[in-house]
């Protein structure tokens, strides 16, 4: 994503490569699905490109993801019944496949969110602990 932002600013391709060498966070396994779900939850039906762009914007440049990896994740969510998809014309009248959260998807998102909150709360507590607290 960094590549793309870099190229938006400058048309010089060569600047892209060093930029992309900057340390970036890899997406943790499973979190991409959560981001997809949340994106669809907030923004309603979207096509793949739209989802990719939103994730990019929301995560604010800090994530490195090959946009293509989104499609296996979408397929998987669809197979699990969390999303549904259909062909529909896009905003500039291109045929695109739109993904939409199902009721099962909402439930899944809630469950995942709770899990995530719990995990991060536990981790956070670990970081807050000082030696004297445990004495």
């Amino acid at each position: 994503m960094e590549m793309w932002h870099a190229s938006v600013g400058s048309q010089n391709v060569r600047t892209v490569v060093p930029n992309s060498m900057k340390p970036k966070k890899d997406v943790q396994p499973g979190t991409l699905a959560l981001m997809v779900l949340k994106t669809l939850d907030v923004l309603g039906p979207l096509h793949g490109y739209g989802i990719a762009r939103r994730i990019e914007q929301i995560s604010g440049d800090k994530l490195f993801v090959n946009q293509g990896t989104l499609y296996p994740v979408l397929l998987r969510l669809e197979q699990e019944g969390a999303v549904e998809s259909d062909w529909a014309p896009s905003e500039n009248n291109r045929r695109a496949r739109f993904y939409r959260l199902t009721r099962a998807g909402h439930k899944l998102l809630d469950a995942e969110k709770r899990d995530w909150d719990q995990t991060s709360a536990i981790i956070a507590r670990f970081f807050e602990v000082k030696a004297e607290d445990l004495a």
């Binding site: 190229s7 391709v13 090959n66 998987r76 197979q79 699990e80 019944g81 896009s90 045929r95 695109a96």
Partner: protein, 886 residues
């Protein structure tokens, strides 16, 4: 739920033709197009915009892979790919595939057949409630299984360890259906028989202990399901009507369930009647009353928690008491429990021993097959070194290659195992439909069940995997660069022996052992056929009947028998005719009786001189049977009820009682003191089995009362058997149309006596044949491979002027050396395996020079046949064309 849903989708995607690829393609195209538009809008030139878009989406091929893996079932996809690859590989080398599959078919098929029979006859208990608690009560002396009815009653009533005890015997009676009398086989069973077994009737009811109120008090008959269906067309109204058994009416009270065939595995009865009604059908009343008349089998069900040992101790305590109480009849009574179903251990012992030995043999065949399989897989791996090296070099992991080879091995083994099992089931189907002994209700039902299929699958996949993986080591060590550079390196002729050599050697040794087994069996068969029988069966027709079936009492039967003999002798073309009560070497021959010296007064069985087979004959029987008279005279028509009691004895009898002194004119006594004068001595014969040691036998005149209703008319003639049968049936219709007549030729009757020898010879011959086929494939494969691999070297040798002998030595020296070594090992093993072979063949002697010579000759012949083609190939190598090829 989510996981299930997903799995379902995946399976659907996997099985159906998939549109996902198209969809992904379209989505990615749209994605790139939109990104490109955005890039252009941000100010990039169109080509750069698209390039950036493509870069951004990532490696499309990898994404597609990932997408696929999400979409379908990758494990199965890989498997499918491996299977397709393996199939292609196997198609490419049909020789290898055919050899491997045939090897497995032989090995697995043989084992499936033998195990099915073992399973059905030995491992499977009787098809009744809690069969493990059922035991037959025999005497301690092996194969002495008959009990008397009074002893049975005492055992039944006095024991404390059995919850029930029943007695039964098999019988044949004339059942009149419509207008014709049909000889049918059935059981005489004690009243509690069905209750003790916990069998429920299909129709009507069974008889119970409460139906018995003394002799002839329960004229009831229970029909077997098959008999009911075939003779009474499954008519349920038959229950309550009467059928005639030996002209006496019996009421049909019920039909047995279709899966109940009595308590003997081979003998499937047509009906059951109460034992107490046996006299009604013509049995002597002694049958039930006399403690010394042993005619019954006892079957008991142990109480829960009681061991067989406790039960047999219990019965032996009763036996000792009975011996004290009835010293004349029961002084040697004792009891032993055996597994029921195969006539106690009368058939059980030899059948179990025979099957165990054959099972070992077939396991050896399988082992030989596996050795063969191992060596052809090894050869194949060696041949494919270069291909495997290429695959390694272009990046296949060793695990992946192993996986592919494994798939190949499993495919081959499953194909071989399935074909083998198919052949086995066809064979077993034939065996189950086979009725070896004419109308006698013998069934050998050994249809394969789940256990057999499981074994076959296990054996085939197990042997395929194990021996298909032998070359894995080879693959693991493959150095790709070396293999591709140098091709295969020639191995020295007599260098270190490889795994392959050991396998072939073992295989040859096993084959030699099995070939020896076949030869031993053939020798045993030949000996059986050459044994002097004491009669000349060729050209003799036997017409059997039971006069009781016509309603004759024992006292009334002699005139009928006499008339039969006289009228048969008048038939044109008949040279001699006589009557005997039992047919020698037939399945129900013989009975024996205690013989005492003249002057004995103590008739306890411990005082007897010996027990001799007893026969009753008419004048002229010996002439008709072709038995030679050694001294004295034949029974004559003047020996009757008012003349002195006489007997003709055989040579063994005379020798046992009088040594070398002439026996004619001497006397002996039977149980109870009846005195008999010996008027003639005839040659010894075989009475029960072809392999028995010489037995004493005595022949009484039918006219002198020692006479049952059993009648066998023995007719010697030159007429064809069919004409003879027709003439005899016409004759019998003239005497009494109610008497059913069974006409057979004596050689046919002998088939039964020859059956064990035939079965053993057949089984061993098949094993030997399988082994020989395996040996041929093994040697051929080895020799062909060794020539193939060394074509170049052999060509150079020819070019340098090697002589033919040297060339042969180089080409097929090693297989020949292995053949000799393996055969030697096999010979030694064969001599040590005498004990095993003795279980199958009477007096097996693998040390017999004819056997050893035959086996060595066979192996030499096989070796020659198998290596001839590779040897010719080696000799026909044209060095010039070979070198030009390089």
């Amino acid at each position: 739920m989510r996981i299930l849903n997903r799995l379902f989708m995946r399976i659907r995607n996997f099985s159906g033709d998939r549109r996902g690829d198209e969809r992904l393609h379209e989505e990615i195209e749209a994605h790139i197009a939109m990104q490109t538009e955005d890039n252009v809008r941000a100010g990039m030139p169109p080509t750069e915009a698209r390039r950036q878009a493509v870069l951004k989406i990532g490696p499309i091929v990898a994404i597609r892979e990932q997408y696929h893996e999400e979409e379908g079932l990758p494990f199965f996809e890989h498997l499918l790919r491996d299977v397709r690859y393996a199939l292609r590989q196997l198609r490419k080398s049909p020789g290898f595939t055919a050899t491997a599959v045939i090897t497995l078919v032989l090995g697995v098929g043989a084992n499936a057949v033998v195990f099915s029979v073992l399973n059905a006859l030995v491992l499977h208990p009787l098809n009744v409630y809690e069969p493990r608690r059922l035991f037959a009560v025999e005497h301690k002396e092996h194969a002495y299984y008959m009990q008397s009815y009074p002893d049975y009653i005492d055992y039944r009533d006095d024991n404390s360890t059995f919850s029930g005890m029943a007695a039964y015997d098999t019988t044949d009676l004339a059942v009149i259906i419509g207008n014709s009398a049909v000889k049918s086989y059935g059981y005489l069973a004690s009243g509690n028989y069905f209750d003790m077994l916990s069998v429920r009737p299909a129709v009507g009811r069974f008889f119970h202990a409460s139906d018995e109120h003394g002799v002839n008090s329960a004229p009831y008959i229970v029909l077997s399901y098959d008999f009911w269906r075939s003779r009474f067309h499954s008519n349920p109204n038959i229950v309550g009507t009467t059928v005639s058994l030996n002209t006496h009416p019996f009421t049909v009270i019920g039909i047995a369930p279709s899966d109940f065939h009595g308590t003997e595995i081979f003998f499937w009865p047509d009906y059951w009647i109460p034992l107490v009604d046996a006299p009604e059908t013509g049995y002597s009343p002694h049958f039930l009353a006399n403690r010394a008349t042993h005619n019954l089998w006892i079957l008991g069900r142990l109480k829960p928690g009681v061991t067989a040992q406790q039960a047999s101790d219990d019965l032996n305590a009763i036996s000792r008491r009975l011996a004290q109480q009835y010293p004349r009849e029961d002084d040697d009574l004792d009891a032993r429990l055996v597994r029921p179903g195969l006539m106690g251990d009368v058939w059980g012992d030899p059948i179990r021993a025979f099957l165990a030995a054959i099972m070992v043999m077939s396991a050896l065949v399988l082992l030989a097959a596996c050795a063969n399989l191992g060596s052809i897989f090894a050869v194949r791996a060696a041949d494919r070194t270069r291909e495997l090296a290429v695959r390694l070099a272009i990046g296949a992991s060793r695990g992946r290659i192993l996986h592919a080879l494994l798939t190949e091995a499993v495919l081959v083994s499953v194909a071989g195992g399935m074909t083998g099992t198919l052949f086995a089931s066809i064979l077993l189907e034939l065996l189950s439909r086979w009725q070896p002994f004419g109308d006698y209700p013998i069934h050998v039902v050994a249809l394969p069940d789940a256990r057999v299929y499981a074994l076959a699958l296990l054996l085939s996949v197990g042997s395929g995997l194990l021996f298909g993986l032998l070359p894995a080591r080879q693959i693991w060590q493959t150095d790709a660069a070396q293999a591709m550079k140098g091709g295969t390196s020639a191995s020295p002729v007599l260098g270190r022996f490889s795994m392959r050599d050991v396998l072939l050697c073992v295989q040859i040794a096993l084959c030699m052992l099995l070939v020896i087994g076949s030869f031993v069996a053939f020798r045993g068969m030949e000996r059986s056929l050459r044994t002097p029988l004491g009669f000349r069966p060729q050209g003799v027709t036997i017409a059997e009947t039971q006069l009781g079936m016509g309603g004759y009492t024992e006292a009334q039967s002699w005139p009928v028998q006499k008339r039969m003999a006289e009228e048969a002798a008048q038939i044109p073309g008949v040279s001699a005719a006589g009557v005997i009560d039992r047919v020698m070497l037939d399945n129900d021959c013989c009975g024996s009786e205690s013989v005492f010296r003249q002057g004995t007064t103590d008739f306890r069985s411990s005082q007897e001189s010996f027990a001799a087979h007893n026969f009753s004959v008419s004048p002229g029987y010996f002439a008709a049977a072709g038995t030679r008279l050694l001294a004295g005279r034949d029974i004559s028509c003047h020996d009757g009820s008012n003349t002195p009691q006489v007997a003709v004895v055989n040579a063994t009898f005379a020798h046992l009682l009088f040594g070398n002194a002439p026996a004619v004119g001497q006397h002996f006594e039977l149980f109870g003191g009846s005195l008999r004068e010996i008027v003639g001595v005839v040659e010894d014969g075989k009475y029960e089995t072809l392999t028995e040691a010489p037995q004493p036998a005595m022949f009484f005149p039918l006219a002198q009362g020692m006479n049952g209703n059993d009648t066998a008319l023995v007719v010697r003639s030159a007429l064809p058997p069919m004409d003879m049968a027709a003439a005899l049936n016409r004759m019998m219709d003239g005497i009494d149309p109610n008497i059913p007549l069974t006409v057979r030729s004596w050689p046919d009757v002998l088939d039964l006596a020859l059956f064990p020898a035939r079965a053993a010879t057949g089984a061993l011959a098949i094993m030997g044949l399988l082994a020989a086929m395996l040996a041929v494939t093994g040697i051929f494969g080895m020799a062909a491979y060794s020539v193939n691999r060394r074509v170049r070297e052999l060509g150079i040798r020819i070019a340098l002027g090697a002589r033919k002998v040297q060339l042969m030595n180089a080409a097929i020296g090693r297989p020949i050396v292995l053949l000799c070594a393996g055969s030697g090992l096999g010979l030694v093993a064969g001599i040590f395996a005498t004990g095993l072979l003795r279980q199958i063949v009477y007096q097996a002697n693998p040390g017999d020079p004819a056997v050893l010579g035959g086996a060595v000759f066979t192996m030499a012949l096989l070796g020659f046949a198998a290596s001839a083609i590779p040897a010719r190939r080696a000799l026909s190598i044209d060095p010039s064309s070979l070198i030009r090829e390089e």
